[in-house]
């Protein structure tokens, strides 16, 4: 990606992959913290979804511990669609992606920065709704095993969701296409994250939870690496 003019002086060499990633991540977070157009709606939506689930399933007693992990993850995944949808639609509205792509930026670094920003948004969402669910439903949600579960789950959702967001942003009916493409691909994440969360709430030992964390880690690794490699094909102009 080096052009002769950039090779003239040390000051003009484009930043490396890690520096590009860091710059783009800071840009993503700066845009979000200044506009606040994603984080707050996500949290409000997730709480509203929890209320809807409460009255759909009558979350009490034995039903609660059975259903709560699924309820929590479905609320998170649905709320994630708000962040993922905005991830590239925002760039599209302002024509700002062209500017990034004209600079000597590696598409892989752009993908990883966008995905990392979405992981941050999902984590912020969970910081709000997980304690809130513990409080509202009287659940034992403060288990150490939940920390890697949520982190790995977030990476899976954001990893696949970010590349799909870029694809959907270029199509008609992008709001409909994103969930249609995302949910089938997230089936392994839903299975593993819900199981791990359920086992952790039940207070089961670490060995029982570990296989599910391994599934999540393997999923994240496969899809993040593959998406970083394929991402260039979705932003070519």
């Amino acid at each position: 990606m080096k052009s002769p003019s950039q090779a003239t002086g040390p000051k003009n060499t484009p930043p490396g992959y890690a520096a590009q990633f860091w710059l783009l991540l800071r840009k993503e977070l700066a845009v979000e913290f200044r506009s606040r157009e994603t984080a707050a709606p996500m949290a409000v939506f997730a709480v509203a979804a929890l209320i809807a689930f409460q009255f759909s399933f009558d979350l009490r007693g034995a039903v609660l511990t059975l259903v709560a992990p699924g309820v929590l993850w479905v609320a998170i995944i649905f709320a994630s669609l708000l962040a993922l949808g905005r991830s590239f639609a925002r760039e599209d509205e302002r024509g700002s992606l062209e500017g990034i792509l004209l600079s000597p930026t590696d598409p892989g670094a752009l993908y990883l920065a966008k995905a990392a920003a979405n992981v941050v948004l999902l984590t912020m969402l969970e910081v709000v709704i997980v304690p809130l669910s513990a409080l509202l439903f009287n659940l034992q949600l403060l288990q150490p095993a939940l920390l890697p579960t949520f982190l790995l789950g977030n990476i899976g959702i954001a990893g696949v969701g970010t590349i799909l967001s870029s694809i959907a942003a270029q199509a008609r009916a992008r709001e409909a296409l994103l969930p249609i493409m995302l949910l089938p691909l997230l089936v392994p994440v839903i299975i593993a994250a819900v199981r791990a969360t359920g086992l952790a709430i039940d207070g089961r030992p670490w060995e029982d939870i570990q296989p599910w964390l391994a599934v999540l880690a393997a999923y994240d690794l496969i899809f993040v690496v593959l998406s970083a490699l394929l991402f260039y094909a979705t932003v070519e102009r």
Binding site: A171, P184, I191, R195
Partner: protein
């Protein structure tokens, strides 16, 4: 080549062969093969179900590979192959889910089982490639569609083994009334109708894919002509 329309084109030969092979396979499955000891008459649908399933997975694998080759070479031919194969793959997967349910009802006592990794994986694959087809139809003939669809074509296929393993683990670590599928030993009474079914569906696949790719190529040429006419 267009002056004398010959009936003996490769496409017609493959089509007639596919039709003949299908008739032979059906005859062998319905008339020739004996009833199975446990399942009785019900196992006969296997001779349609299993070849359909194998060719369905093959079509989706071809979509993924052709998508990858298209991203590397950017030759429209590979994109047409990926698109056509996904369409046929979705149709065949629909047949797999339907014939599997028809078999499952009398033998398992249920149309569907969430504890069988193969069923759930097939359903997830089916949905993934319906999404692929929707992306293509909703994006119309926008220039980037071939590229973005190729990415979905690859991601959806990579997800197949991951989903299979997750559902398997879910069933394994969370025992439900497992529905054991009959493991027939491939004796010749079973093998011959099965191979005839395989041949029939592979020929059908080749016939359909050639046809679908030609239609797509004609459509692309027409679009190019229209665009050129509008440009003048």
């Amino acid at each position: 080549m267009r002056s004398a329309p010959s009936t003996l084109t490769p496409a017609n030969v493959i089509g007639v062969a596919a039709f003949a092979a299908m008739l032979i396979a059906l005859y062998l499955a319905i008339v020739e093969s004996p009833d199975e000891r446990v399942q009785g008459i019900h196992h006969r649908i296997y001779y349609i179900h299993v070849p359909t399933a194998l060719v369905a997975y093959l079509s989706i694998a071809i979509t993924a590979v052709a998508s990858g080759v298209y991203l590397r070479t950017r030759r429209p031919r590979w994109d047409r192959l990926a698109y056509a194969s996904a369409e046929i793959g979705v149709i065949l997967t629909t047949l797999v889910l339907v014939t599997g349910s028809i078999w499952g009802r009398p033998v398992w006592g249920a149309w569907w089982s969430w504890s069988d990794a193969r069923l759930v994986t097939t359903l997830v694959m089916w949905l993934s490639y319906i999404a692929y087809l929707m992306l293509r139809s909703l994006s119309g003939r926008a220039p980037g569609t071939a590229r973005t669809a190729a990415v979905i074509g690859i991601l959806g296929f990579v997800n197949v083994p991951v989903t299979y393993f997750s559902v398997y683990l879910w069933t394994y670590l969370h025992p439900l009334p497992t529905l054991q599928s009959a493991t027939d030993r491939p004796e010749s009474a079973i093998l011959v109708p099965f191979l005839a079914g395989m041949l029939a569906f592979i020929l059908l696949y080749v016939y359909l894919i050639r046809m679908r790719m030609r239609v797509e190529e004609a459509q692309q040429n027409l679009d190019a002509l229209r665009a050129a006419a509008e440009g003048q």
